[in-house]
Symmetry: C2
């Protein structure tokens, strides 16, 4: 993972000539890449952790697993939102955790939390570091120091029950590693969020991640059969059966807890046999409304695609859905939709047939398999594009929400208007693209990509646009986040989401399991 | 609802000659019905509520909606477990709430809770009164008095969104009334637990009810899009979107809260269009293991039946699955399975075809549609049979759990052995029948029906058997309840289910929303 950009340096994408043309024509951005700060040039806030604390932590986990080196602190200095990446370019002093600690066992985690609670050290649990909502910001809060608690040594497939389709994976296992470990047994998790290549099982659980195959395999929270969580006051081992009526579901209190209530060390997950067959079919609809109605019909009938997504006219126009062709020749007018179907040979065929019939009945025109396969091949590419755009002097960021089908178009228009109008006030036109990537019988997610010109203090510029978008979401019936989570960036809107009493309940739970308040301060809980 | 038996007096079932023969032969029970206590002969604990409190409550809700009459207190004196029904036959003084209060608005509920918190009055929220786990027992705890807070006036379909398939139903709407109200708009909830005819929307939510069509439409907790809950310290309006990553899911804290954390006044539910087509097919398998493997294959492939259940050899042998024929001519040897398929014409046909292929491949032999239709027609009849058995001098009760597929047979054997051995110690043989009625990709529920002879103090006799069964469940990897909930009866096993820290968290939430502790004391929270 690069410290100042997304992912694998080798996968970085230079901007195509088509995209450069689009930037110039639509936004007046001249793509000349400014020289970048190197990691060696970055100045980090000096570590504030005391020698005594460092020594004590080294006794708990071993000296090799505690570090105050800048080379270890910098990659854990924050997540990967556009503001994060802009801050990484700052030539002034940058924020960073005071130390990085890498425990290897649950007992070590428990001992670290006890020590930190007693010695006023904040703890930020760290997985892949792919948060785009400030979820791993090294906020000290009222404490002496803040450590990054990196879970990467929890990297095992701890057990697998091939009869029931349940596997216990360590919190530090990454997306690709989970698929590799499960694949050895003929199983798959099927969780493919944009962060798949770098993010971890613990991070997926802590943030209620949702993958691109959520229509078929569910959100990550749906896959959670059990959770082990270490809190400063003890261990929780939650989840007894595939389903239970034994009171409130406490798994649902720790899923989405974002490191504020405990450290997730392993997750028992519903896994499925590797698909025998995969079908692909891309579609075009006359407009977004027609496409959304068709997707709704598929979901409400329960026809059962594995992936189903729909780009709006603007996103379809710039080919954002197939990032390799962005700005190039258009695949289709109208709106592009992607469907895939996985399972046994019979299952994939049956689901494909049923879905196709519904889409045809709702005005869809098939584009064949190729554009859907191209989407799958390029699907983890979008964040690399953002790197290129930011470097070229454009402002680029994404945000997302979800609502009911009945409210979908109203919410989409409100968010788009808020973004375009606010960015216009900063002196730039904006391209606002949108897609539906997660569908439910009662509604869908809306995922927005914004590209505009950089104007003045870009952090401030984006903050204005983001604030306007969030207010539009809250004011028009959307959830403040469908799958990016809350972190530091959405915390101010949490009380609108769950009410003041909801926030009071979260604080009460926090006070119970983390009375010293050391766990991920400044995140999630208002 | 009868005060001393299940449901509608007109639907009571006399024991068939076949069943009487079975009782005599297998259990030595001579079916001679003892004379029953009449409602007029019951002696209730005198109301302990003060005139001042009664007057105050009458001011809050209107005098017509407060009652201390025995005729109102008796039907709310408890639920419908076998111990409840045995206690109703007691010629001594019986426990009952000190008053019944029927609020008509959320404001009235809020005012009642505030008043009761200030004046040390316990509050038992009351829906259909069908709890079989002591969930509505009128426990005073440390308080002066206990009132039954009957929600039946929250009886409306408050709104329906036909595009998104969401409907807001008042907490007091019963199962049949929900279907009638939704049916006027062409929609259905599809929630058909055994208690369907009498239980309410609020009760379903508060207890994580699961209906017989859970394979197709999900458990009740899956259907909950939003909840309104009145607590003594304020209102919660939870659930913003079809899915969200905005932190812990607080709906899941109040679903299953069993009246201990607040009073649910309405529920926003996922509803679906009334099915165009329903297919039925019954099956027989050589034994329970073969049948369970077949059901597992269907679920893991995602073939998609609406109902899928499997009776074990003993249950199949006495035709318990089709209560009208109980003890009569056997439909089949081996194990009977029922499947149904609902949806659009194409959807029902596709799901039926896919499921049939899997069941055939796993050794199933089709019995055609008729036994499945007979099951559906008789499906709410079993509790009436229990009334007849209890009156005839047999002990009859049900209990349930769930576990993974890999652990299913081990758990089933352990629970069966615990029941048979413990009842043998009391001097009676026991028939223990079992079925799978709820299936998941990772596991299934197990539902046990026990019939034995009554020996000595029957409450004590059953308590021994139940305790042994619960210990067997906890000791062998089952959940303490899959859909009956916790109430008073399972409370002692709650800490095994969620751990001591889990229990501490529930108490912390309780202290936050109900600091006086008036809500349903003695239930759920250990």
């Amino acid at each position: 993972m690069k410290w100042d950009a997304w992912g694998d340096p080798a996968a970085a994408k230079p901007l195509s000539e088509g995209l450069k043309g689009l930037l110039k024509q639509a936004l007046g951005v001249e793509a000349d890449e400014a020289p970048q700060l190197t990691a060696a040039e970055v100045r980090l806030r000096p570590s504030a952790i005391s020698e005594r604390d460092l020594d004590a932590l080294a006794v708990l986990v071993g000296a090799a697993y505690v570090s105050v080196l800048d080379g270890d602190r910098l990659p854990r200095a924050g997540g990967k939102s556009t503001p994060d990446l802009l801050r990484r370019k700052d030539t002034g002093e940058q924020d960073a955790p005071d130390a990085v600690v890498l425990p290897g066992t649950e007992d070590e985690v428990a001992e670290i939390l006890r020590y930190c609670a007693e010695h006023a050290i904040a703890v930020v649990p760290f997985g892949g570091g792919t948060s785009v909502v400030g979820g791993v910001d090294p906020i000290r809060g009222q404490f002496q120091a803040v450590i990054s608690l990196d879970l990467r040594r929890f990297d095992r497939l701890e057990s697998i029950d091939v009869i029931s389709g349940e596997a216990v994976l360590g919190a530090g296992v990454t997306g690709p590693e989970a698929e590799r470990l499960l694949g050895e047994h003929g199983f798959s998790l099927g969780h493919f969020p944009q962060s798949f290549q770098f993010a971890t099982i613990g991070g997926f659980a802590a943030t209620r991640s949702s993958g691109q195959a959520s229509a078929g395999y569910g959100r990550f929270d749906d896959m959670i059969a059990g959770l082990r969580v270490i809190t400063p006051v003890g261990l929780l081992d939650l989840g007894r059966a595939p389903a239970s009526a034994a009171g409130p579901d406490l798994r649902e209190l720790f899923a989405g807890s974002e490191g504020t209530l405990g450290v997730i060390t392993s997750v028992r997950l519903h896994v499925h046999a590797v698909a025998e067959a995969t079908h692909y079919e891309a579609w075009t609809f006359e407009d977004f409304a027609a496409g959304a109605t068709a997707l709704r019909a598929v979901e409400q009938q329960g026809a059962g695609p594995t992936v189903m997504r729909l780009s709006d006219e603007m996103e379809t126009g710039v080919n954002l859905a197939t990032t390799d062709k962005i700005g190039g020749e258009q695949i289709t007018g109208g709106c592009l939709a992607i469907t895939t179907f996985e399972g046994t040979v019979e299952h994939a065929a049956a689901r494909h047939d049923e879905t196709r019939a519904v889409l045809l009945a709702h005005g869809g025109r098939s584009l064949g398999a190729e554009p859907a396969q191209a989407w799958e091949q390029g699907r983890f590419g979008a964040p690399y594009l953002r790197d290129g755009l930011l470097a070229a002097g454009a402002l680029c960021e994404t945000l997302e929400t979800a609502t009911t089908w009945a409210n979908l178009h109203h919410l989409k228009a409100a968010v788009t208007t808020a973004l375009v109008d606010t960015l216009a006030e900063t002196g730039t036109p904006a391209l606002v693209m949108c897609h539906i990537s997660h569908v439910y019988p009662t509604g869908a997610s809306l995922y927005f990509t914004v590209v505009a010109g950089q104007r003045g203090d870009v952090l401030e510029q984006w903050d204005k646009a983001k604030t306007a978008a969030m207010d539009a979401i809250v004011g028009n019936g959307g959830t403040i986040t469908h799958h990016h989570a809350v972190g530091a960036d959405h915390k101010d809107w949490m009380a609108s989401e769950i009410g003041d009493l909801g926030a009071t309940i979260l604080r009460a739970v926090k006070n119970t399991v983390d009375p010293a308040g050391i766990l991920n301060p400044g995140k999630l809980i208002p």
